[in-house]
């Protein structure tokens, strides 16, 4: 191996290690900065405690609940719609109409999040306020609906991608036996594709959890445990955006790292889970 080849290889390896370093560094930095909380044994308590600075309680329990509620609602809203659209694209009209719809869905992925938030504030929130009279309209329901719309394109593309894993000769055989679309979907497509569809679901859930702007703009940001879908709630991501201006040495500021670490841990766990499923699906 001559010098040039060696140098270039080490450069590429160096870049790879640097990128890995960044990934681990993000977690490491937050762990170091949250160390005082670990040292005093506050970290685990903070995950479930309520947020009431007046009583000296700085737990992020409400934010974790809010995040999970809003993200789950978004996924629950998004699943049937995505499934229907994916069936339209992949099974019912795989030709012309389906291809056009798929392009539109792909284009939807490029709409900025802040736009969804903006439209949410000025269109959806007043609508929810009038429909369910009471409250400001900024609630879990509004945020969940908007977030559901945001993650639908991602989920649809995942579903369509998993439908293409079904071998064509199985589909041809079903056609030859005279199966209709429902039978084709339930007896052939689903058994082949469900694992990779679950992978898509997990990753979409991660995306819903990680979104900041929609939750920040239209979920109301009340730092209390929500009791119904019409209650305002604050997500972990919005909490980070709201508290960032606090004094650096204060305990409020330290809670940011609790939020950051929990978000990192939850999305990272989702990725590992999705990969595990994917690997077994391929074997």
């Amino acid at each position: 191996m001559d010098v040039k080849a060696f140098l270039s290889k080490s450069m590429f390896l160096g870049a790879c290690l640097l990128s890995t370093g960044i990934t681990l560094g993000i977690l490491g930095f937050m762990l170091v900065l949250a160390y005082p909380l670990f040292a005093r044994g506050l970290f685990w308590e903070m995950l479930i405690q309520p947020w009431s600075p007046g009583q000296g309680l700085f737990g992020v329990g409400p934010m974790i609940t809010g995040t999970l509620c809003i993200a789950s609602l978004a996924v629950v809203i998004s699943i049937p719609i995505s499934l229907g659209v994916a069936c339209f694209v992949g099974i019912v009209h795989p030709g012309g109409k389906g291809r056009i719809l798929k392009s539109v869905v792909e284009a939807m992925t490029s709409v900025p999040t802040v736009i969804y938030g903006f439209v949410g504030v000025f269109l959806l929130v007043p609508l929810v306020r009038t429909l369910f009279s009471g409250g400001s309209g900024m609630c879990i329901l509004s945020a969940g609906m908007m977030l559901g719309l945001l993650i639908s394109p991602t989920m649809i593309l995942f579903f369509v991608q998993s439908f293409t894993l079904v071998p064509q000769n199985h589909l041809d055989a079903a056609d030859a036996l005279g199966a209709n679309t429902v039978q084709k979907f339930f007896y052939i497509v689903l058994p082949w594709a469900w694992k990779s569809m679950v992978t898509g679901l997990i990753l979409s859930f991660g995306r819903a959890m990680g979104d900041t702007l929609i939750a920040l703009m239209i979920s109301g940001n009340a730092a209390a445990f929500p009791e119904s879908v019409l209650d305002p709630a604050r997500t972990l991501t919005a909490h980070i955006a709201l508290i960032i201006a606090a004094d650096f040495d204060s305990i409020e500021f330290k809670t940011l790292f609790v939020c950051g670490i929990s978000l990192y841990a939850m999305t990272g766990f989702g990725v590992v889970l999705a990969r595990g499923l994917g690997q077994r699906g391929r074997a």
Binding site: P112, V114, G210, T212, A241, T267
Partner: protein
């Protein structure tokens, strides 16, 4: 489930869901167009300043989107310049040098990086600023450079993945010709594989540009402010289009400002859609032509 009724219901379900989604999408775009089309004049961007005065930086633009657009442009260029070399090299390493085991480990790491919420990346950038401010340069505050760096971290996994995918999906015939003629691995990568994969890699870069243009969470933590004018250096704070939209939605003073917010939304959508179409076009059409030219 053999009855035609089920088949009908299934088709109806697929049609219904598609119509609901398209309807929601059209409502969003339509709502913005109806509310914001009156704002779409040169005044929206340049305010009372003339076009050439603004573009040549002779006079400052006060009540237009021009500073925000300039800020977004600087941000995009800086973060792409930071992210491309790193992302490309990492992608090349994964596709061409790494053994399957090594590849498995690193792609898991980069999947995790891709999954990290953007606000956490922003928090990281903010903490780095804080750290540097306290330990090394006490005149460093959240600024354009820090934002660009954080955005570069955010788009890095996309760039790595598109490069890796583009190289791995090249046909074996393309991959083996140069080595069989005596080329080294490096020559093969530089002269054959990279040019052949160029259009896919470019489309990945353009998608990353779109991510940089739209992301708000990172920049609101690392230096975007409501009024700053054109960024003077990489160490100054700056305005950005998505942050402006966020700011207007919560702090608008009167109706005309709100209308400007709608206009800004339309401008941002227009930019992002164009980037998307460009990337789509590059991936679909040019891949064939570029493959055969080299």
């Amino acid at each position: 489930m053999a009855s035609p009724l089920w088949d009908r219901a299934f088709r109806l379900f697929a049609w219904g869901c598609s119509l609901v989604l398209m309807g929601a999408f059209l409502v969003i775009i339509g709502f913005l167009c109806i509310k914001g089309y009156t704002a779409l004049t040169p005044r929206l961007i340049f305010g009372d300043t003339g076009f050439w005065d603004a573009v040549l930086l002779r006079r400052q633009v006060f009540d237009g989107l021009f500073p925000a657009m300039a800020g977004t442009l600087c941000l995009i260029m800086l973060s792409i310049v930071l992210a491309v070399p790193l992302g490309l090299s990492t992608g090349i390493f994964l596709a061409e040098y790494a053994s399957p085991r090594v590849k498995w480990f690193f792609s898991l790491v980069f999947d995790i990086l891709a999954g990290i919420p953007s606000i956490v990346v922003g928090l990281f950038g903010f903490c780095i600023t804080l750290f540097l401010h306290q330990c090394f340069f006490d005149r460093l505050y959240p600024c354009l450079l820090i934002s660009a760096l954080s955005l570069a971290f955010l788009v890095l996994p996309y760039m790595i993945r598109t490069t890796q995918m583009a190289l791995e999906s090249l046909p074996v015939s393309v991959r083996l010709t140069a080595p069989s003629l005596g080329a080294t691995q490096l020559q093969n990568i530089v002269y054959v594989l990279l040019p052949a994969a160029l259009s896919t890699i470019l489309s990945g870069i353009i998608l990353s540009i779109g991510r940089c243009a739209e992301d708000t969470a990172v920049i609101m933590l690392t230096g975007a402010v409501a009024t700053a004018g054109i960024p003077k250096s990489v160490f100054s704070s700056y305005e950005a289009l998505p942050f402006y939209i966020y700011y207007i939605s919560s702090q608008y003073a009167d109706h005309s400002e709100l209308i400007k917010g709608y206009g800004a939304c339309l401008v941002l959508i227009f930019i992002c859609m164009n980037l998307f179409v460009l990337s789509h076009f590059l991936k679909k059409r040019l891949s064939q032509r570029l493959l055969f030219r080299h």
